[in-house]
Symmetry: C2
Subunit: 316 residues, 2 copies
Amino acid sequence: MSRHLKIASAQLGPLHLSDTRSSATKRLVNLLREAHGMGAKFVVFPELAFTTFFPRYWYDSQTEADSKFYEASIPSAETQPLFDEAKKLGIGFYIGYAELTQEEGRTHRFNTAILVGPDGTLVGKYRKIHLPGHAEHKPQAAFQHLEKKYFEVGNLGFRVWRFMDTITGMLICNDRRWPEAFRVLALQGAEIVALGFNTPSENLHYPEPPALRVHHHLIMAQSMAFQNATWLVETAKCGFEDGNRMFGHSVIVAPTGEIAAQSLTEEDEVICVNADIDLAANLKRTMFDFAAHRRPEHYQLIVERVGAEVTPAKGP
Amino acid sequence: MSRHLKIASAQLGPLHLSDTRSSATKRLVNLLREAHGMGAKFVVFPELAFTTFFPRYWYDSQTEADSKFYEASIPSAETQPLFDEAKKLGIGFYIGYAELTQEEGRTHRFNTAILVGPDGTLVGKYRKIHLPGHAEHKPQAAFQHLEKKYFEVGNLGFRVWRFMDTITGMLICNDRRWPEAFRVLALQGAEIVALGFNTPSENLHYPEPPALRVHHHLIMAQSMAFQNATWLVETAKCGFEDGNRMFGHSVIVAPTGEIAAQSLTEEDEVICVNADIDLAANLKRTMFDFAAHRRPEHYQLIVERVGAEVTPAKGP
C-alpha cells in the first residue's frame, strides 16, 4: 500500500521594511488555512518568512539589525498565532527565520528553518550551510547580498527526520545549487526535501537575463529531485520588496524529475500535491540503487578539496 | 580575450549485430568530415562506437563476446582510417569502445573512452566507473543491460587533461546520472566534459514513458553543466539496433545550463557550437566560487557511505 501525503507550498509575496511580524504572521495564517482547504497536511513556507529579505541592506549597527530582523525565540508573541493555528488544524510545517541565539557563552546568528509536527512539537532544526553573497559592503552595487555578514555557517549538518510517516530533510535557498547537500540527505533516506528561498530576479554581480535565473532554478529542482529520488518542495518569498524584485516559481517536484505543481504569481499563493511518497521505490531499487552503483573510492576529491584547482593529468 | 573552440557532437544512428568495424569506421569518418565542414576542431563520438550496444545480449561464452565486440588494440587495422582522417584534418576527438587488455598478468575488460589530440596523440583515457544494469541473466526481460557482466569498474578515476587550450574531462553514459562524477571533474578545473551514451528508449526494469526518460536526460545535462560551470557535450548512439530502440537527443550544453545545440534525429547527425570556453568565468568567480562557498566538512557522508541508509536524527 503506497503512502500519500498532501503537501503544499505556501508562497509569500513581498514583505516590506515597514511590515510587522504580526502582519506577516496574519498572512502566513491565511496561507495555512488556504492549504488546509486544499487538504494539505504538510505546508512548506519560505526562507526568512517573517521579515523582508534584509541581507540586501547594509547596517553599520548589528544591534539595529538584530532588533529589526532576528527572532530571539520561536515562536514569539507575534509569531505564536501561526503555531497555534497549525496545531489546531493538525498541519505540520516548515518555516524559515533569522535565528539569534546564545550558545556556549556567545551570540550566534543563523539562517534557520524548523520542521514542526502536526501536534505542534518541534521535530527538527536546520541552519543554512551554503551562505551565498558576500560579507563586505558593496556601495556601488544596486543592492547587497550580505548573508555572509549576517549569518554564521550552519553547525547542525544536513539531516533528516521521521516526520508524518516519511523521512524528511531540510535545506534553505542557496543549498539548492549544491548537489552535495541533496546527496547527503538522500544517503540518509530522504523521501521529501523541504526548502524555502528568496532569490533576486537580477544578478547582483553581472548582467544576466532574469528568465535565465528562473531556468537555473527549474532545471536544478527537477534534476536534484530525480537524481536523489526524492520529493522536493521549494517555496519562494517573491515580488517587489520595497522595489527589489524576487522571482516566484515555487515548485513541488516529484522524484520522477517532473514538476507536479508550480506557482504562477509573485504574490501570496498556495499550490498543493497529493504526493505518493513511494513513487520513487522503483527508481531506488534499480537506477538509483546507491549501494549497487555508487563508487565513493572515486569521490574523495569532493571532501579533500574545497575550491577548484586546475590539476590536469600528466599523461593519458 | 576569450577562448573559443568549435565543438561538434557526432551522433551515430544504429549499428546492427551484422555491421562490421569497417562499416562503422566509414560512417564515423563521414561524420568527422561533416563536422570539419562546419568548422569543428573537437568532435565527440558516442560510447561503444564501433559495434552494436552488445550489453543487451547474453553470451554464455565470453570468448565469443570478446571476439565480436572488444578492441584488443586501438586503433586496429579496421578503425585506423578514423584516426588517420582526424589527424589529416587536425581535429581532436573523443570516442568510446570496449577495451580488452592484459594488465598485471590478467585479462581486463573496460567500457573505455579516449581523447585524441588534433595531431593524433593519445591525450587521455577514461574507463567507465558507474556501470549500470546487472550481471546476471534475466531471460524473462525484453532485453538485457549486462554492463556489470561485460566490464570491470574503471580503475583510472575521474580525470581532466590539457586539451586544445582547454581543460577537458571525460565521462561515459550512466556517469551523467551521478553528480559526484561531474563534481570531481569540476574540482580539477574542467571546462569541457565529453560524454558518449547508449540509452534504451524503454526502461528494462519497469514501465516508464520514453519521453520521461528523455526528460531526465535533458534536465540532468542542463543542471550538471550549470552546477559545475562547464561545457557539456553528450553524444548518443541511437535508433533501432536490430529492433531495440535507443533515444538520440545528443546535446551541447553551455555552462549557463542552456542547450546550445541538440540533435533532431535518431540517425547519423552532427551538431556544432562555437563554444566560448570562458563563458563560465563570471559564474566561477561568484555563485560557483567553490573556494568561497563549498563546505566539505558537511559532505563526509558522500564518501563514508555507499548505499542509502534510513538514519533519521534522534532529536530536533
